[in-house]
């Protein structure tokens, strides 16, 4: 069944996306491989947050650079995502530590499949909870920052005279359009995932106050909240990073030499004509 669905997905990717579809599929496989590898490494007892951060770098660079090419857009999206990760790791860790987010929640403890598992893993499970939060937000953050950096790039391509502030403002403006739908995507995915949990809460007749203090709810809640916060905060960040890079391409020369807008940097020339898209 899983294999059948995977085959359908691959076929559809090719049918809808053509060559880009194959790229997407390969990136997907790579991301899943990196994710599994990082999980294996964490289970060996390696430092979970560091491993997660490194695997996020790998995943992010594959999604951006391999799938969408190396240019100013992907480069600035990449840096925005890294910045947002660095910003959010500490609050996530502090919150996880203080609110006892770690471990199995009270609903899981009643499940049969837990019975055979050993609780003696000798890994700090707060850190695992934090790496779970970080992994959850990376997809949303990449999506939003890519949308914004490519929009700012298009604006800049059509009007090279715009100042840093104007570019930033247009980035945030576009971000407002993206925000609502991304938050929606996260919310519905979360509802779909945790529907069983809510049904269980209902059948145990949990009151509202007992619900919001329960660990099971709190785990789901922080997961989606951090994803939402990441995709909100990445909007101004990504707008700022993109406009900075576009306005001062000399400083980021070595990353931009494959970008069509900044080809002139290669031989230290002057900014010339905008390459025509249709050609």
């Amino acid at each position: 069944m899983i294999i059948a669905l995977a085959v359908i997905l691959a076929t559809l990717l090719y049918a809808v996306g053509g060559e880009r579809g194959i790229l997407t599929f390969l990136t997907l496989c790579w991301n899943i491989a990196v994710l599994s590898l990082s999980i294996i490494m964490i289970s060996w007892g390696w430092e979970p947050i560091t491993i997660t951060f490194l695997s996020c770098l790998l995943i992010c660079s594959a999604t951006l650079f391999y799938q969408n090419g190396r240019n100013a857009k992907t480069f600035s999206a990449f840096w925005s995502v890294i910045l947002i990760l660095v910003i959010l790791i500490l609050p996530a860790y502090l919150l996880g530590l203080n609110s006892h987010i770690q471990g199995l929640n009270e609903l899981m403890l009643r499940e049969d499949e837990i019975m055979g598992l050993t609780p003696n893993i000798n890994i700090n499970i707060v850190k695992i909870a934090v790496s779970m939060m970080i992994t959850g937000l990376i997809g949303a953050a990449t999506d939003t920052s890519m949308a914004i950096s490519s929009a700012v790039y298009e604006v800049f391509r059509n009007n090279r005279q715009l100042s840093l502030g104007e570019l930033f403002r247009s980035g945030v403006h576009i971000g407002r359009d993206v925000l609502g739908t991304t938050v929606n995507t996260l919310y519905f995915a979360c509802i779909g995932e945790s529907m069983m949990m809510f049904l269980l809460f209902k059948s145990y007749h949990y009151s509202f106050w007992r619900l919001i203090n329960s660990k099971a709810f709190f785990q789901e809640f922080t997961d989606i909240m951090f994803s939402c916060l990441a995709c909100i905060l990445v909007i101004p960040l990504s707008a700022a990073v993109t406009s900075c890079i576009l306005k001062r391409p000399e400083k980021f020369k070595r990353f931009l030499d494959e970008d069509e807008l900044f080809l002139y940097l290669k031989d230290n020339g002057q900014p010339g004509q905008i390459p025509d898209r249709d050609k």
Binding site: G136, G180, I191, M195
Partner: protein, 392 residues
């Protein structure tokens, strides 16, 4: 000479500072209303967080604030993994109810890894059940930590940032989020009183789609095109899923987590995948609809071929990252459990095939939904906007 130069520089700097302060004053004057609004918002949010931090008397369950924790190692070593167990003796004060102010003496056991247990420290507030009082000192079992203040803080952060970044748009996004949560909660109540979950799921999808799209993009043609294409795409996805099920061995619902009543598992799973993929499909639909309407508005005579090409290009740009969003949102939740299972000597291969197929199903069907919605929403938007132009 040089001192004169220096003086000149100083003067320059002073002038600049004066100009800057004048400018910032101007900006302040201009945005006075907005600043006041944000100030009020921050005050309201902080009050809310403070209130939930001090709401112990709202609860009927006994809450104890721990004043002092004493840890002593036990001689419990299991399996020789090096995980240590500790015993905690906690002294605290009761915060609410008739016993308010009484001293409490509680016991707790924890391990370094903390998989099944928790470590409490001074300052934590915990719920205590089966309370018994013995000459002024309370004893009982700890049932869990009080977490509502963290939830309030996270909500406050979300509201503040969403309004700061996206002001009016952010407000509408928040509104749609609140409305959707309310609808979902009401549907849960209906389910508990015996309504069929599949019927509820269908109504929910309809309500969610209309409400969120209307609130996000307003009352206009774009929204209607997006609503139509979302509903069509979801239907096609579910049909495809049913078709695949009838050709393969189907889904083993025993793998679902938190099973309550085994009778209606297939229906619940159906409702789950319907709603889970909905957000992503809506996202694709509204993006396609608004960009195609934008293209037509800019150039009324744009040929059909170019429109389709642009629609496909946009679809290619969003599909990769959208599928990634699905992947990480679904898989991340099961990371702790996977790690636990791997440490219990279960191989990764076995875990993927036998312990987390539900997450994989949801992810695969959600991604299929995204891919189907790309051509569907292009087609629907074309039909909508082209026909309208012909009538005009």
């Amino acid at each position: 000479m040089s001192s004169q130069n220096n003086q000149g520089k100083k003067f320059d700097i002073r002038k600049k500072v004066r100009e800057l302060s004048r400018k910032s004053k101007l900006v302040l004057m201009k945005n006075k209303r907005r600043l006041l609004l944000y100030g009020a918002l921050i005050v309201i949010l902080l009050t809310g967080v403070w209130l939930t931090d001090h709401n112990d008397q709202w609860y009927s369950a006994t809450i104890v604030k721990i004043d002092h924790a004493e840890n002593s190692p036990t001689d419990l070593y299991r399996n020789g993994t090096g995980d240590r167990y500790y015993e905690q003796t906690l002294t605290g004060t009761v915060q609410n109810g008739t016993l308010k102010g009484h001293k409490a003496l509680l016991k707790n056991q924890y391990s370094i890894s903390g998989v099944f247990d928790e470590t409490y420290k001074a300052g934590d507030r915990v719920f205590v059940t089966s309370v018994s009082s013995e000459n002024g000192t309370i004893t009982g079992t700890i049932s869990g930590l009080k977490r509502d203040q963290y939830i309030a803080a996270l909500c406050a952060a979300l509201i503040l940032f969403i309004l700061l970044v996206a002001n009016r748009r952010g407000f509408f996004a928040l509104l749609s989020l609140t409305a959707n949560i309310a609808i979902f909660w009401y549907a849960l109540t209906l389910y508990a009183s015996g309504t069929n979950i599949l019927l509820l799921g269908n109504i929910l999808v309809l309500l969610f789609t209309c409400l969120s799209l209307l609130l996000i993009s307003g009352w206009n043609q774009k929204t209607f095109a997006a609503i139509c294409s979302t509903l069509i795409s979801i239907t096609i996805t579910l049909l495809l899923f049913q078709l695949t099920m009838s050709f393969t061995e189907g889904v083993d619902y025993a793998f679902m987590e938190y099973i309550t009543s085994p009778a209606d598992l297939p229906e619940i799973f159906m409702a789950q995948i319907m709603i889970g993929g909905l957000g992503a499909v809506m996202d694709v639909a509204i993006t396609e609809a608004s960009s195609i309407s934008e293209l037509i508005a800019k150039d009324k005579e744009i040929p059909l071929k170019n429109l389709i090409q642009s629609g496909r290009d946009i679809g290619h740009d969003i599909m990769g990252t959208m599928i990634n969003v699905m992947l990480f949102t679904y898989i991340s939740g099961s990371i702790p459990l996977i790690i636990l299972k791997m440490n219990s000597e279960i191989r990764l291969h076995t875990i993927i095939l036998w312990h987390m197929p539900m997450e994989l199903y949801r992810f695969l069907i959600g991604s299929i939904g995204i891919l189907i919605s790309i051509p569907v929403s292009i087609l629907v938007s074309l039909l909508f906007f082209r026909r309208l132009r012909r009538f005009a």
